[in-house]
């Protein structure tokens, strides 16, 4: 009874907190859909005006396209202005993958290459599932690659693209298309993940003459030129270092999540095999 009352009071607090959060936001923060508050300044000056900029997001919306050359402001914030934060996220993912590998090491060490399943379509799963996975996997990979490569032009970016591609890996696992050589698969993926993180940090150090993760390529006269202000079609070779960072993050996320999935999947297989062995012994 006491716990029920306590949980009810906590729920009331939560709802009240939500209301307190929502009510002032109606007045102080601009509504979604109208990003810039004083449109007059925006229209007159057109670009690159730092006066009359009251808040951080107004600054990003006005100067982001000019400074980074990216049509997608979200990507320019994630990979340029807050690039260090993104590096931290990548490191967190890397540590998570390492710790999972460490935890499952005892299980997976026993059967390095012992899983000798049939290559190709396995009889254990329904034909429909495995064929559908086989057909859908390239489409998902292409969509993920598009998200990664076009991250600075259209909605998307490294994290989303990597996650989408990793869900393709999950599909392959469901369709039992990765049955052999899981150990080698994980090793290759691990190498690529580490390489991607190193590439991210390397790009960061390349701009060190000004600052860590400085977007040194986004200058008008360089190879990676910036774009004119306002809505435009956009070039793939714009936005300076953003596409490279996006690619690095995408590869890292894809490989990391794939390692986790393959390792966990092999855990279930290992359990089954142990059960079989026990049955045969008894």
């Amino acid at each position: 009874m006491k716990t029920k009352i306590a949980s009810f009071i906590a729920f009331l607090f939560f709802v009240g907190f939500l209301f307190v959060m929502i009510l002032p936001s109606q007045y102080s923060i601009h509504l979604p859909g109208e990003p810039v508050r004083d449109d007059d300044v925006f229209k007159e000056s057109g670009q690159g005006k730092t006066e009359n900029v009251r808040t951080m997001d107004d600054y990003f919306l006005r100067n982001g396209q000019q400074e980074t050359g990216s049509n997608n402001i979200v990507t320019s914030v994630v990979f340029d202005y807050r690039g260090f934060d993104t590096l931290g996220e990548g490191t967190v993912l890397f540590i998570a993958v390492s710790s999972i590998s460490m935890l499952l090491y005892q299980f997976l060490k026993k059967k390095k290459e012992s899983v000798v399943g049939p290559s190709g379509f396995s009889p254990e799963v329904s034909r429909i599932v495995s064929y559908a996975a086989f057909l859908l996997f390239p489409i998902i990979v292409i969509f993920g690659a598009y998200l990664v490569i076009h991250g600075h032009l259209s909605p998307g970016g490294g994290f989303q693209g990597g996650a989408v591609t990793a869900s393709g890996t999950a599909l392959l696992l469901v369709g039992m298309l990765i049955t052999r050589k899981s150990y080698t698969t994980r090793k290759i993926l691990g190498i690529f993940e580490s390489l991607a993180l190193v590439a991210f940090i390397g790009i960061g150090f390349a701009g060190l003459t000004t600052a860590f993760l400085y977007n040194f390529m986004a200058t008008p006269d360089s190879f990676m030129n910036i774009m004119p202000f306002g809505p435009n079609n956009g070039d793939l070779t714009s936005a300076g270092t953003l596409p490279f960072i996006s690619l690095a993050v995408g590869v890292e996320v894809f490989c990391g999540i794939s390692i986790i999935l393959v390792a966990l999947y092999n855990m279930t297989k290992a359990d089954k095999e142990e059960e079989k062995e026990v049955k045969e012994e008894s």
Binding site: P32, G33, P155, Q160, S167, L173, I260, L261
Partner: protein, 70 residues
């Protein structure tokens, strides 16, 4: 509203596999909401991570442990 219903139902299910499926449904609805709120970035992330990856990981963990909640 449907999202809230899905969340509550996924909490109440004793069968953990059904709970996982409801959770995936929640993620899918949340994706639509994000898209309607003009945030396609977040919608893509939610669709891939919420609807696909967490579902797979939960299904694997349900397989490794018991299926029923006690």
């Amino acid at each position: 509203v449907v999202i809230l219903v899905a969340a509550v139902v996924s909490l109440l299910f004793k069968d953990l596999l059904a709970s996982v499926v409801t959770f995936a449904l929640l993620s899918l609805l949340l994706t639509i909401v994000f898209f309607l709120l003009d945030a396609p970035d977040v919608a893509i992330a939610e669709a891939s991570i919420g609807a696909a990856l967490t579902t797979v990981i939960f299904v694997i963990s349900v397989k490794l442990t018991r299926r029923r909640e006690e």
